[in-house]
Amino acid sequence: MLNEKKGISRGAIITLMIVLVVCILTIVLENTINPNSLLFTVIRKAAVYSLVAVTMNLLNGFTGLFSLGQAGFMLLGAYTYAILTIPTDVRDSIYYLFGGAGFHFSTVSFFEGIIGDSGVAGFISMILGVLIAMLVGGIVAAIVAYLIGLPVLRLKSDYLAIATLGFAEILRAIFQWDKLGKVTNGANALRGYPTFADFNIKNAQGITVLRLSSFIPILFAGICILIIILLINSSYGRAFKAIRDDEVAAEAMGINLAKHKMMSFIISSFFAGVGGALFAMFASTVQAKTFTSAMTYEIFLIVVIGGIGSISGSCIASFLYIACSEWWLRFLDNTQYINGNQLPLFKNGFRMVVFSVVIMIIVLFFRTGMMGDKELSDLFNKKRRKKVKADE
């Protein structure tokens, strides 16, 4: 009751503060401890995965549409981003196998031409080029989503999963096709475009004075997630939830199912495209073979572990999942000795076994995931409500 008048609840403020602390901590740590620590790889990748998991949750968790196309939309975003931002002067060397690039426009070079290519001007040109390419990456994914959605969203929702999964696989093949090599570089990697490391601030001598390469992914993903949260809490978000809860009732109350499903699908795919662009920046190379259905399953697992229908769950799960897979369980892959005796099982691949078992346990016994459909802010709000009751 109290909260409603203020507009922003106490829980939301606490959540925002936690995010802020994470941001500050990231910046401080990156500028004090070894910047090559695995911790920062985890932060960057988890930030990107958080966004993609949230886009999947928007569809699967909030609209009740089961889609498995996330890797495909990421691929579109990643390729669009890379193709648009590779500076003009290095293009031909990257596409050398195909006798040079077929497409010479670069957003970064374009802004460098207008603003300047050195010092602060160069930095601003890079940022503008990156932002526009990310946006276009999202738009390309959104347009493709529209084209897929047109026939498929009218069918029963199981078909959407099959169609999106198939689409992602086909897309991966198309992007590796030699005939498109002048644009996609075939099966070879695209590189040379701005990555998160390019956001580190350097002084005139070229020495890094402030590292931001782990903060930037949090910032970009955070802004996108914030927009999705605003959407979910708007009238349209409520309409999505109504469709998920009871489609028949939603339609009877005047909600156009086709339109709202399409809207959710397009918005989800747009941000998955942006997530793909961020993934390209994280990985510093783009190659179609990375965007497999295994990637989609990974993201789906994160959504399930975090809780279907919980944005904060997806974010927290993404950090835990990536930390486990990239860092904490790494030791399982290395040969281990106790008192000079080599332990059995500890060899390459064991990590994935343990990991799979852990996930199976979670899926079997904690089906609602860590957060269920609650948000972090709800938890804080609830605590307060209990306190208020105790006071009375």
Partner: protein
């Protein structure tokens, strides 16, 4: 007849070999409360579904305020397998609309088995009924530039909840309410869509006699307060006889009688089929 609200003409709904609604015609005039009764499986809910766009009737015509909103004739497989009558009366233009389009025309409904949105609060359930008529778009709603409209929708929702005596539950989950209140909430949600015609499918189902009595007064009240017309399916005979201006009775999809409550009560066919002695 200028104040005719709903007009059904030879409406037939056939599922495979089952004719659930058989050549059914009826009229409802402005401000009336008209009931549709009949034994279980008689085709009452199916008739509702033909009006609200959930089903596309196999044959027949539905008009709302004199405008055709549904019109169909046997097509495809039904061309040969059609078991109903008047199969050649409505050849030509087919009119078919989705439920949301029909709701936007001013027909709202409740469901026999309550269909509230279970993850949403009482307030949100009613608020969302305002969504369809809002001018906002997805950008203005996301970036909160529709503040005025959102506030208006919230104000109207709160007002409606107060009128219906549901405001003290507004932050509860809709499905956590007792059964009788869930029924009320479903009616409130339908009213929030600002309909001209309200379709109620067994609103008293599962209610005790006292609740049913309250509901009777409540339905009459909303007809007067909101100036709407009400089309009602109900099994509770006390309620039906008490409240209805006119009654239609169907059995196996066919009309067996219609008229004033006191006529229906005396009709031997109805007593035979339904009131069952």
């Amino acid at each position: 007849m200028s104040n005719n609200v709903l007009h059904l003409e030879n409406v037939t709904m056939q599922f495979g070999g089952v004719v659930a609604v058989d050549n059914f015609s009826m009229d409802i005039n402005e401000g009336e409360i008209v009931s549709l009764i009949g034994p279980n499986g008689a085709g009452k809910t199916t008739a509702f579904n033909c009006v609200t766009g959930v089903y596309e009737p196999t044959n027949g015509l539905v008009e709302f305020y004199g405008k055709p909103i549904v019109r169909n004739h046997p097509q495809g497989k039904m061309k040969k397998g059609y078991l109903g009558q008047n199969g050649d009366m409505y050849l030509g233009e087919v009119i078919s609309q989705t439920p949301d389009e029909i709701t936007k025309l001013g027909i709202a409904r409740t469901f026999q088995n309550i269909r509230l949105w279970k993850s949403m609060t009482v307030f949100e359930n009613v608020l969302l009924a305002k969504h369809m008529n809002a001018k906002q778009n997805v950008f203005s709603a996301t970036f909160r530039t529709n503040k005025k409209e959102e506030e208006r929708m919230r104000r109207e929702t709160l007002e409606l909840l107060k009128q219906q005596g549901l405001d003290k539950y507004k932050d509860e989950l809709a499905t956590s309410l007792p059964y009788g209140l869930q029924r009320r909430l479903e009616i409130a949600r339908a009213l929030a869509a600002e309909p001209k015609l309200l379709l109620l499918d067994e609103p008293a189902a599962g209610m005790n006699p006292q609740e049913t009595e309250e509901l009777t007064a409540f339905i009459r009240q909303i007809r007067d307060d909101y100036n709407i017309t009400i089309f009602l399916i109900e099994h509770h005979m006390n309620l039906v006889m008490d409240i209805s201006d006119r009654i239609y009775v169907i059995e196996f999809g066919k009309e067996i009688a219609h008229g004033l409550p006191k006529e229906i009560q005396k009709n031997p066919k109805v007593i035979d089929a339904y009131l069952g002695g």
